[in-house]
Amino acid sequence: MKKKFTANMTRRGLLRSGFYGLGAVGAAGMPWLSGLTHALDAAGNDNERILVVVELSGGNDGLNTVVPFQNDHYYRLRPTLAIPKNEALTISDDIGFHPSLRAFEALYKDGKMAVIHGCGYDNPSLSHFTSMSYWHTGVPNGGEPLGWAGRFMDARWPEAERENLLLNIADSQSLAVRSRLHTPLVFDNPAQLNREGDELQKQAYSQLVQNRETGNGSLQFLQNVAENAASSSEFVRDAAAAYRTPVDYGISGLGGDLRNVAALIDAGIGSKVYYTSYRGNAFDTHVYQADLHSRLLLYAADAINGFMRDIERLGRGREVAVMVFTEFGRRVEENASQGTDHGTATPMFVFSGSGEINGGLYGTHPSLGDLDDGNLRMTTDFRRVYASMIQEWMQYPDSAKVLRSPHAPLTLFRV
């Protein structure tokens, strides 16, 4: 039997063990807990669905990822970087994947992958940080302080703080998971979620980190984080350390992070949104792009494909969908250094082994003949994909409330 979530019975620890700790034992023997053992959606239905977000930081070159191999403009504007027609992995009459994406090709042909062309927003920013913040908040060109995933959890579970709804594997917390009500669980390496020292010291420490009223906002924040660390760390650490899988996630950091996501899903931590990133601005390919981009795509595909296979192996494929995005695509014309500069519209990917996903191509590929000052004109507002994930996949009906404006979902999932 799996190790259960056992933490100190703090105020929140007690709540949490009610929610998750008894799940596998079954609440049947404890009728007083039966209403708490599952997260219930607004209509009171069981909904175990999970959204995993993968961010490709640095601005992935969409044109060389989803290749318009029949397009003369493409070959004219990218004399050294264009993917030759005979190397693209064909998925339609005029579209093929980059040759590194064999794993995506297989998922696509199995109907487990949706590709959404030309995602972006009006008045695009070509700054990494600004554009990424727009994708994080879901409010382009606005001063929104909370993240879209954070607001989603605020809307979905508005009554009281619930721990670990949002899980973010990162060095520092992503803006995307910043929530008004719920403190995200953020870590890089699960082994770090550990307070070293003997029992006596740990006891004294647990008293030192108790939450107290303070007028100092910084101290209040520290106390909240300390409380979260105290109650969740053992579970995450043990789950990741104990996890064994025969599936190879490749050699990237993203692979390791997604493996930990699988471990935590398997252990039943109960998070609804897992937020991960291919980190370090890796996709910012200004110079000598070809080799580098080829490797980056291969590593990312290994990681995502590994995760999809592992989740199916665990029998949890029906519960999980993965959404992949990047803050912008790249300039259509290659630069003098056999690289590409910051651009605009770029494809998004959604994966699921649920059987609910409508695999295929969505939207229209942006025109390469009609550019906006050298950049692609977006054809799909990225928030329509967010709306699909919120409404169709996570089955929360009011995506407009979360996104601060109405956006029609794309029917990426059967509803």
Partner: protein
């Protein structure tokens, strides 16, 4: 008395006013008639957003401690008292006008002698080195070995030697810098160098040349509190920056905008104060700017001498003209003053305060010293909103801990770079061109726990374990073990079955993993080793010197010495009880090693408290 006592430093032996809760009222009334108006930990609420200077009557130990904490990395009680004995103006001048102190006595960085002219310029990637080898029969001075089973192997080995050697040297360089922060008598010079390193964030991951990183670091040290305009120009001509933002690739025929964009967005104007057109035009002015042999050069044939229009001005501008135009913009003064303020004071500032600060910077023609003096003297700097509200960066956490301990040299066990890197900040490796986000982003459940664990590593260093540990990364060690078992290179280097790892070994002309292993071995023999030693710290001696002899005085002393935000009374009671239980007595016995261990255990708790993360 009780109420006041909550707001006063607990330990009587430290600071002015020298008052503890148990002490007599007479001392308070003597020393602190002016301090009554503003007790050491709290300031009048009217001080927020007030840039007018604090008066001598407001000056005390706590405020001097806050000044040293922010304008430097904190210090010992003696260093704080030294500042507290001055007037506020003198104390601020002492820190800002550090050039008036004796010539910089700290030794220069000692290079290991890795540099090899044949390896300059260094290939962009392993693939590039292999292409050179195929085209020319050699690369980086390494020749293709004809007739052997892996003819390009020597080139790949050399490539990884260059890569790993540089990494090791950069690690030494960062360690050297950290040591400066710990021992310097000019703490603001180091704090500002750290600011510039985060502002003009250049990472050796991309630059791959420790000599350029050293040159840039020297630039930051020399211009730490000089003129921002001069520094901005110097940075645009700095080899590390030119490399980092690809300006060597910015040529007339095909401008590269990376440099122009970051110059406007992150280094001067701030987002929203320029157009895409401004970036494109400004980038043309920097075409042909590049570096050769560590020197800035302009390649006239690559420079676009045509007419450009940038921020409303038109002319056949070059890069220097663009810097001049940027400095003329109101938004540059606003952006830079706000960024400095956030680094030194606090995260949020009102629009009005931002305007006032920008005005100070502009009126002083971007001279930083008068700007910093205005900030460090201001009532706002000592207001309740500013004091003990900043999250220490990982580097600040480590350096200030060592300084508060009064160490004479920076311990290298635990490893400084590994420690701060684990917490999200590695010197010479900012995460991207925007630098470290800072503020609350330093703090996550994982980093908060690790901060406490790191303090344990400092107080109870595992010296034997550290020295016994093989620094060789696991993958190379496994390769080495398999080779020692007699496996061939292919067998010894095979791991995993993912597409990625197959790609890495797909070329039979050489073996990438073997090359990485060989490069590591040769590099570690070439680079000077970092001397390893733990903190030289005796808490028993520290407390004995302070005439502390019982449990509650010891806890009070350590709290006052190390924390900028007091612990709650109940936390103090927990720590006292912990120490009492450890010692089995109320009195401290100096002869016993157990006393030292018990004191370090209680200090570990103190340095793990949420309050200790606040500066």
């Amino acid at each position: 008395m009780k109420l006041l006592g909550r707001n006063l430093p607990r330990f009587a032996g430290l600071g002015v006013p020298r008052v503890a809760e148990c002490c007599v009222v007479a001392v308070l009334s003597l020393a602190a008639a002016p301090a009554m108006a503003s007790s050491p930990y709290t300031a009048p609420s009217s001080w927020v957003n007030d840039l007018s200077p604090v008066s001598e009557l407001d000056w005390n130990y706590e405020r001097a401690a806050h000044l040293l904490e922010r304008a430097g990395f904190g210090g010992t009680p003696e260093q704080i008292e030294h500042l507290a004995d001055m007037t506020p103006q003198q104390a601020v001048d002492h820190l800002v006008d550090f050039h008036a102190l004796d010539a910089d006595p700290l030794p220069d960085f000692e290079l290991s002698g890795l540099f090899d002219p044949a390896m300059d310029p260094f290939p962009n990637s392993r693939a590039e080195a292999v292409r050179q080898a195929r085209d020319n029969g050699e690369s980086m001075g390494a020749k293709v070995a004809h007739g052997e089973s892996r003819p390009i192997q020597p080139v790949v080995n050399k490539f990884f030697y260059g890569l790993r050697g540089n990494e090791m040297e950069a690690r030494r360089l960062a360690t050297w810098w950290a040591d400066r922060m710990v021992v310097t008598e000019r703490p603001l010079q180091e704090k500002m160098a750290l600011f510039w390193h985060g502002h003009f964030a250049t990472t050796d991951t991309k630059v791959r040349d420790h000599r350029k990183m050293l040159k840039q670091l020297n630039l930051f040290h020399e211009n730490a509190v000089g003129n921002f305009g001069e520094l901005l120009l110097a940075v645009t001509q700095d080899p590390a920056m030119l490399t980092f933002l690809d300006n060597a690739e910015n040529i007339k025929a095909h401008p590269n905008e990376n440099f122009g964009r970051e110059l406007m967005e992150l280094f001067s104007l701030g987002e929203g104060n320029y157009t895409e057109q401004d970036i494109r035009e400004a980038s043309r002015a920097f075409t042909g700017w590049t570096d050769e042999k560590l020197q800035f050069v302009i390649r006239e044939e690559d420079h676009d001498d045509g007419v450009k229009t940038v921020l409303g001005q038109t002319g056949n501008f070059d890069g220097e003209d663009i810097i001049e135009i940027l400095l003329q913009q109101e938004s540059t003064a606003e952006f830079m003053s706000a960024k400095l303020y956030r680094f030194f004071v606090r995260d949020t500032l009102s629009a009005d305060l931002q305007y006032q600060l920008a005005d100070v910077l502009r009126r002083n023609n971007y001279e930083l010293a008068p700007f910093l003096k205005t900030v460090f003297l201001s009532r706002d700097f000592y207001s309740n909103e500013s004091v003990a509200t900043q999250f220490k960066s990982p580097v600040q956490l480590m350096v200030s801990t060592y300084r508060k301990m009064g160490l004479q040299r920076m311990p290298t066990i635990p490893d400084f770079n590994a420690a701060t890197g684990n917490l999200g900040q590695r010197l010479l490796y900012p995460p991207n061109v925007a630098g470290w986000a800072g503020g609350s982003t330093w703090i996550t459940p994982a980093t908060l726990l690790q901060r406490g664990n790191l303090m344990r590593d400092v107080l109870f260093p595992d010296v034997e374990g550290f020295l016994a540990r093989d620094p060789m990364p696991g993958i190379y060690r496994r390769v080495e073990e398999r080779l020692a078992q007699g496996m061939n290179i292919t067998q010894a280097t095979t791991e995993g079955d993912s597409g990625a790892s197959m790609l890495a070994d797909s070329d039979e002309a050489y073996n990438t993993r073997y090359g990485a292993y060989m490069g590591y071995v040769v590099a570690s023999e070439t680079v000077i080793q970092i001397p390893r030693f733990p903190a030289d710290l005796s808490l028993s001696a520290m407390l004995r010197d302070a005439r502390v002899d019982d449990v509650s005085a010891a806890v009070a002393y350590l709290e006052t010495r190390f924390l900028r935000h007091p612990l709650s009374d109940s936390d103090m009671a927990v720590l006292e009880q912990f120490l009492r239980d450890e010692l089995g007595a109320d009195e401290l016995s100096w002869r016993s090693e157990e006393t030292e261990i018990a004191l370090k255990r209680v200090l570990h708790l103190l340095l793990s408290a949420p309050e200790y993360q606040l500066s």
